[in-house]
Amino acid sequence: MKKENISILLTSEKLNIQTCYDFVQDSSCGGIALFVGTVRNLTKEKEVTQLDFSSYGPMAEKEMQKIAAQALEKFDILKIAIHHVEGELNIGDIPVIIAVSAPHRKAAFAACQFAIDTLKETVPIWKKEHFTDGEVWVNSTP
């Protein structure tokens, strides 16, 4: 596992799909799988007006790095980028992009799914949804 095959980003800037693609693209790979999260306007029939992502920054970056390293170990892939936003987002904005390149597409898809599934379980980032009538921390019904 080589560190130069991993791109981790936690930023308050807009995420860029082409940046992730360009990082993982390589002449030895036959396929690139990408996952792009987008802010939905409906969660359980309530209209989301805005989202806030807050994070435990240093730990979030470490956990994203771990996921990338695990993906490179578990799957026959070449490079992986995991980029996540913090701060305020609106409907249609992109909270997360994951890009994976591999010699063969099956490994690229598997690693991309593994990365987003694991990110949603382990990376200390929290999403607060704002509705017209209030707000809620997602996943946090006490």
Partner: protein
């Protein structure tokens, strides 16, 4: 022993603070710290479904704390 405790997400809202400092001789493991926290911040009992990280790594309740550790209370994450 003294530890700094970082709060995030819903727990930060419950305690209404992003960081608290705790100093006590009864702190040893993460479990003992939790007991102390629930005593001092009884509102936390309404939301006990959180994980603990020490110095930016997830740990179990049996983890033994050291002086000046940075402990983070991690409610269920919802990134992505």
């Amino acid at each position: 022993m003294k530890v700094t405790i970082l709060l995030f997400g819903i727990v930060r809202d419950i305690v209404q603070s992003g960081s608290i400092s705790l100093e006590s001789d009864s702190i040893s493991t993460v479990a003992s710290l939790k007991t102390l926290l629930f005593e001092k911040y009884s509102k936390l009992k309404t939301y006990s479904n959180f994980s603990i990280a020490v110095n930016e790594e997830y740990v179990e309740d049996s983890y033994v704390l050291k002086n000046n550790d940075t402990v983070a209370i991690i409610p269920p994450v919802s990134g992505g």
